[in-house]
């Protein structure tokens, strides 16, 4: 019973399409083998690898930016208060606080363009599809910001802002800002799609020559 549950859990780490093709066979082997830590680690690692291999560019870049946002919160811990103080407080081992304008930097705009370009090169779709992919990436990257806004609204987290911007934005504004930025993300993604189209054409011309 426990083994069957563990096998099912391990299989959930693989993408749905992969499970449809190979899931039953892998499950059979796992039920035959002793589930040692080495076997579990092997299956889990390969499941993550398959997910990464088949993931859409918007998911890969969105998760990467999301992690960067989370890490930036931790690294600039000295500016965040109350409930999370023991975890986030600045110490001699953390970097000094610096101002981060979340999801508004030029790097983020370049990443949205990259997402649109990559999506076009993978699917050869229209500009709209690249734009939607960039919106999806932006939405994934915004998750920690929105979670923090919800925690602030619930009174569980107090955020102190550094830099010249006064007064600080309200939790509702923090919650809504990522949603308001989605149309902008679409534009950057569509531009990236056009860039991808240009790259694809150039590559086709070169291979034809």
């Amino acid at each position: 019973m426990t083994k069957g549950w563990l096998v099912a859990l391990l299989l959930r780490m693989y993408p749905t399409a992969w499970r449809r093709d190979y899931g039953e066979e892998l499950a059979d082997i796992l039920l035959l083998c002793p589930l040692t830590p080495r076997v579990i680690a092997d299956v889990a690692w390969n499941g993550c690898w398959q997910r990464g291999r088949t993931a859409e560019p918007s998911t890969i870049l969105g998760v990467a930016v999301m992690l960067a946002v989370v890490i930036s919160f931790v690294v600039t811990g000295g500016t965040y208060g109350r409930a999370w103080v023991p975890f986030l407080q600045a110490s001699s081992r953390t970097f000094p606080p610096f101002e981060v304008t979340i999801l508004a930097s030029e790097i983020f705009a370049y990443l949205l363009v990259t997402c649109g370009c990559w999506t076009h090169l993978r699917h050869r779709g229209r500009a709209h599809e690249s734009g939607v992919a960039a919106m999806r990436m932006s939405a994934i990257a915004s998750v920690p910001v929105m979670v923090i806004a919800v925690l602030m609204m619930a009174g569980m987290l107090e955020l102190k802002f550094v830099g010249p911007r006064l007064p600080p934005p309200s939790p509702l504004a923090i919650l809504l800002t990522p949603l308001v930025r989605l149309p902008g993300a679409w534009i950057y993604g569509a531009l990236g799609g056009q860039l991808g189209k240009w790259i694809a054409r150039r590559a086709a011309t070169r291979s034809g020559a």
């Binding site: 992969w18 066979e25 892998l26 059979d28 076997v39 299956v43 390969n46």
Partner: protein
């Protein structure tokens, strides 16, 4: 005692799977036990199926119709040619290397 995992070209999962299927179609568990017997390499089930996925995508092996819950795989003509090429390359390198290691008579 746990065996030390082997590394190098002779422990490459894709090569081992193709070498195993050179003797005829086999299913995942059969391939895994066969590799353990002839190469002394124990492939993890995740590694085995990741390599099988890649080989199917490259059309070097192909799935056959399912027998019960097990699905056998066979080496394709392209797979056989690729395997022959790889093994010839390995033999050439091994022959030269071993000859050079022999003490000069």
């Amino acid at each position: 005692m746990a065996r030390k995992p082997r590394t190098g070209p002779a422990a490459d999962p894709e090569l081992l799977i193709m070498a195993s299927l050179a003797s005829g179609p086999n299913h995942g568990y059969g391939i895994m036990t066969d590799i353990e017997t002839f190469a002394d390499v124990r492939l993890g089930p995740g590694t085995l199926y990741t390599a099988i996925t890649r080989l199917v995508e490259k059309k070097l092996i192909a799935p056959q119709s399912t027998v019960g819950r097990q699905r056998p795989y066979r080496l394709t003509a392209q797979g056989a040619a690729t395997l022959t090429e790889l093994l010839k390359d390995m033999r050439r390198v091994a022959t030269v290397g071993l000859r050079r290691l022999e003490p000069a008579s």
